[in-house]
């Protein structure tokens, strides 16, 4: 189908975009890469009265060092994240995750800001923001605010953003020292949305795993951090037994939906298997010894 009619404005600045959003209440929509929005317009699932295009707003497309972390502009394309040397050096887990996002033509266009705001429960970037304790920086009529990723997603395709609020950048703090990582995903074909995925980071300190982080997606309305399991695993070496126990706890902690692509039981099974793989990969990459 074709979209219903709307007005169009190519914003020249963040302030101009916000002013138009504020003037139109919920009737205006931002368009960034358009890779999630335009399908919804074509299906007429959405019929905004005006689209505010931010592609020509200067200063939103950059990947810059922020201490030992990174500051990523909202308009940074998926393909730029996938191929950035800075991302590969500092957050190899993010680099790996990006190779699973959609197809090249979509990665050429889609943006990190758009992916976070669209908040698809099976999208990689929301899970990575949560795993990496990212901060989402926004601007609206009242000024700017910083939203921790853990407070950003409040349901499937839903975030805490106000109607006139724009994401401007994403800040990712440095990983702890001696940090290993794991990322695993199962989808029907390469580039399809995941049926389930898991990611972990583990640091090694005096032979023990510390600052363990574990995130899952595709098994709930939003990506999830498994904080109970993280605490349970921290402070001792990871062994086949502790990883097995963590995976068993994941099975009890998630309550996935069934849909066309996978049943709830299959997704729960995937969560368990992928948890084992990412914890074990992260531990080995951190330099932990097999026990």
């Amino acid at each position: 189908m074709k979209p219903s009619a709307f007005e169009y404005l190519a914003a020249a600045s963040v302030d101009e975009a916000i002013a138009v959003l504020a003037a139109h209440g919920g009737e205006a929509k931002i368009i960034a890469g358009g890779q999630s929005l335009v399908p919804m317009l074509n299906f007429r699932l959405l019929a905004p009265t005006i689209l505010v295009d931010i592609n020509k707003v200067p200063g939103l497309d950059h990947i810059t060092p922020d201490g030992d972390g990174l500051c990523i502009g909202a308009l940074t394309r998926h393909h730029a994240l996938e191929t950035s040397d800075l991302v590969r050096e500092r957050f190899p887990v993010l680099c790996e995750a990006m190779t699973h996002v959609a197809h090249l033509a979509i990665r050429n266009r889609g943006t990190i800001g758009g992916s976070l705001c669209h908040a698809d429960p099976a999208a990689e970037l929301p899970m990575m923001a949560l795993l990496l304790d990212a901060t989402i920086v926004t601007a609206d009529s009242d000024g700017a605010r910083e939203i921790p990723a853990k407070d950003f997603f409040d349901g499937a395709l839903s975030t805490v953003l106000e109607e006139d609020e724009l994401v401007t950048e994403v800040r990712i703090p440095a990983l702890p020292a001696n940090c290993g990582w794991g990322f695993e995903e199962v989808s029907q074909r390469a580039g399809d949305f995941a049926m389930a995925a898991a990611a972990a980071t583990v640091s090694l300190s005096n032979g023990a795993a510390v600052q363990v982080r574990l995130a899952l997606m595709g098994v709930g309305d939003t990506p999830m951090r498994m904080r109970g399991i993280e605490t349970q695993l921290s402070g001792a070496p990871l062994t086949a037994e502790t990883i097995e126990a963590a995976a068993a706890s994941v099975v009890d902690a998630v309550d996935p939906m069934s849909d066309l692509h996978a049943s709830s039981d299959y997704r729960r099974h995937l969560a368990q298997v992928l948890t084992k793989r990412v914890l074990s990969d992260a531990w080995q990459r951190a330099g932990g010894t097999a026990q």
Partner: protein, 161 residues
């Protein structure tokens, strides 16, 4: 009716000026306004790849881009590739390896393959398959497209040696 917008778009090296509705998709602008019907429309939501074109040098879905967003940009469609009497090297590989039957997916395949050849090593057939996973072909069963790409990769790597 929404206000129309004036746009200037270079398509296959030729500058076009038009006044279009904001909701007009780039795919429809190319096909309906410029009569460049080589760009095909299959699904209109980004999953089939038939509408893939180059926008400022990168492959994109023309069904997920508005014509107004191409204002000031350079678009290249399959019409900028070779013609029947002088196929470009990738088209030549498609012909040699029978990588098309009905040809509906071919324009999108050619654009996608060209961008993949620019951006990825494509060292294995699996990597080629992953790269083509966003382009649907209902005829060939893909194997011959993989063969054509394998030959194109080999030629690229020999030329770069």
């Amino acid at each position: 009716m929404s206000a129309r917008c004036d746009i200037k778009v270079s398509v296959n090296g030729e500058l076009h000026e038009a006044c279009v509705e904001p909701r007009l998709l780039l795919a429809d602008f190319l096909r309906e306004h410029l009569n460049l019907t080589g760009t095909h429309i299959g699904c209109e939501h980004g999953v089939c790849g038939a509408c893939t074109v180059f926008l400022d040098g990168d492959s994109v879905r023309s069904c997920l881009c508005l014509a107004v967003q191409a204002d000031g940009a350079e678009v290249e469609t399959v019409e900028s590739f070779g013609r029947t009497e002088n196929l470009n090297p990738l088209q030549e590989k498609f012909r040699e390896h029978h990588a098309l039957q009905c040809g509906f997916c071919t324009p999108g395949m050619l654009v996608t393959c060209t961008d993949l050849l620019k951006k990825y090593p494509l060292a294995s057939d699996d990597e080629i398959r992953d790269g083509l996973s966003g382009n649907i072909c209902r005829c060939t069963g893909y194997e011959n497209i993989i063969r054509a790409m394998r030959a194109a990769v080999r030629e690229r790597d020999e030329a770069n040696r």
